[in-house]
């Protein structure tokens, strides 16, 4: 049942699993950023990320290099995320969570359609910011691109962590998510904090999109499978825990890569069902995930 095994190939699989995991982790992080403050899952997170990636693609077609386009896309995505919250979420801020979820579903459809209109359907190659060659480490051929993706996620996590922990704005964002009423009493503009959360989520999602596009092809539906993996990662880690999202993403990436490679009948076709199975198992046995808190309700 086990496919042929060599240590060098195992190392290569670990790196590729971590790279995939990094992409899931960053999109899961984006989901968590919005979930924490609104208790709603943003089903448009994947399409928002793809949209950002298309913007990067357009900029690169106009002569910018990947790393020149990168910060521009992050800025545009942030502003776009804030704008989306102000225009379509703010009117329903006080509405039940389900309303917000349905609206994000609508937003996903809208963005998907817009991408077909603006850039057309079909997949196209996307040249990323890292060399596609490999380096040899102790007999294993390690992809530079994978290492780059892992590095970018690590940097993103560190920067976000410092921001939330040590800046006044980061503290206000956390406070607004934890206790909106008390936040208002100390002068935090809670509604704007929600918008900032959307902006940050869009930015983080854009990073995921620009990292995953070179591994696949860029098309309007690029992030749909990734979004499912990100859900699984977020549920695994605990939907309200940013640390959980990152750990969940990495565990999920490793698990399904290794299962796909070494357990013959899973292959690449059964990876997605494995992710869904993980969601199911966790919701059943540990609804709060690895790091999350369980919401209890007295009836």
């Amino acid at each position: 049942m086990l496919a042929s095994f060599t240590w060098s190939e195992f190392a290569e699989q670990i790196v590729s699993g971590l790279a995939d995991g990094s992409v899931y982790a960053s999109l899961a992080l984006a989901l968590v950023l919005i979930y924490r403050s609104t208790r709603a899952i943003n089903f448009a997170q994947g399409e928002m990320a793809t949209f950002s990636t298309f913007i990067a693609w357009s900029l690169m077609n106009h002569g910018l290099s990947f790393w020149e386009a990168f910060p521009v896309v992050l800025a545009i995505s942030f502003v776009g995320g804030v704008a989306v919250e102000r225009v379509i979420i703010r009117p329903v801020e006080q509405a039940p969570v389900l309303t917000i979820v349905i609206i994000t579903l609508g937003l996903a459809l809208l963005l998907n359609g817009l991408m077909y209109v603006i850039w057309g359907g079909g997949d196209r190659p996307f040249k990323g910011g890292f060399s596609s060659s490999t380096v040899e480490v102790a007999g294993a051929h390690i992809s530079i691109q994978y290492i780059g993706i892992i590095g970018v996620l690590a940097l993103l996590v560190v920067v976000l962590g410092l921001f939330f922990r040590y800046t006044k704005l980061g503290l206000a964002l956390r406070a607004a998510a934890l206790n909106p009423d008390s936040s208002r009493l100390v002068g935090v503009r809670v509604s704007w904090m929600l918008a900032l959360g959307w902006g940050l989520a869009a930015l983080v999602g854009a990073v995921a999109g620009m990292m995953v596009a070179p591994l696949q092809f860029l098309g309007p539906n690029m992030m749909q499978a990734v979004l499912l993996y990100a859900f699984a990662a977020a549920v695994l880690g605990g939907l309200d825990s940013p640390v959980g999202a990152v750990v969940g993403g990495l565990i999920l990436g490793l698990t399904i890569d290794l299962l796909g490679r070494y357990v013959g009948y899973i292959g690449s076709t059964l990876k997605l069902p494995v992710a869904l199975l993980l969601i199911l198992v966790f919701l059943f046995f540990r609804p709060g995930g690895l790091f999350g808190s369980v919401a209890t309700r007295r009836v």
Binding site: A175, N179, D181, S182, L185, V186, G187
Partner: protein, 232 residues
């Protein structure tokens, strides 16, 4: 001119009217108490000031109309609500930092001042606020309010559920702030003896209306106030 002015303020929770035209004022640096039985509208009066309840009528601080809770905080109102409103999941230190959210510049001195007033908070600075005792939480709530350097401090039942020694400690701090720094205080209290001892003036509420008001000494001498609220 008074610092805080409420004129004909009505407030409601859904269809239930809690305030029927309350007018009161607090002067610069004045210590004022609001007395009344359960359900008289004391808490609602404070919430009307900070804008955390739907209300009609005029609420002004230094002549400027207060609208939203954020706006009130930015104008210099620090509201320590019922149940204290601390951030249970955040550390003591983070709670204090949030208190100074609306201010610019260094707040080191203010933190030192709060720690000097309540040394126990210094010892617990990295602990989650939710793990503090009731008395410590009340000190944290007050400390957080002071971090804003408020012009007006609103306190909702600061003595509720606390041991007498801690109540005394908290009221001593309030008196000191009011005397030394001229911070105006509007306090709601069930414990009328305590409130009248601390405040210079008081209002008595009954079913959402002010029925009596005046200097604390006068109220203490008032026959019906004495019987209904002071219990002797």
């Amino acid at each position: 001119m008074s610092l805080l002015e409420l004129r004909n303020v009505e407030a409601r929770y859904g269809p239930v009217r809690a305030l029927h035209g309350v007018s009161l004022n607090v002067g610069e640096g004045e210590f004022v108490a609001v007395l009344g039985a359960n359900g008289a509208g004391k808490t609602t009066t404070l919430r009307a000031v900070s804008g955390t309840v739907r209300r009609n009528g005029d609420v002004r601080l230094g002549g400027k109309k207060l609208r939203t809770p954020e706006g009130a905080a930015r104008a210099g109102v620090a509201h320590v609500p019922e149940g204290r409103g601390t951030f249970a999941e955040l550390s003591v230190w983070e709670n204090l930092r949030l208190g100074s959210y609306t201010r610019r510049g260094s707040t080191k001195e203010d933190v030192q001042r709060v720690f000097a007033l309540f040394p126990v908070l210094d010892r617990r600075r990295d602990q989650q606020a939710g793990t503090l005792s009731g008395g410590e939480q009340q000190m944290l709530a007050l400390g957080r309010a002071l971090m804003a350097r408020p012009r007006l401090l609103l306190l909702d039942e600061p003595s509720l559920g606390l041991a007498p020694l801690i109540v005394k400690e908290i009221f001593d701090v309030l008196a000191k702030l009011n005397r030394d720094e001229g911070t105006a205080v509007l306090v709601v209290e069930q414990n009328a003896n305590l409130a009248l001892a601390a405040a210079a003036r008081a209002y008595v509420l009954e079913v959402g209306r002010v029925v009596v008001d005046g200097p604390s000494d006068e109220l203490r001498a008032n026959e019906s106030v004495r019987r209904s609220y002071l219990g002797y």
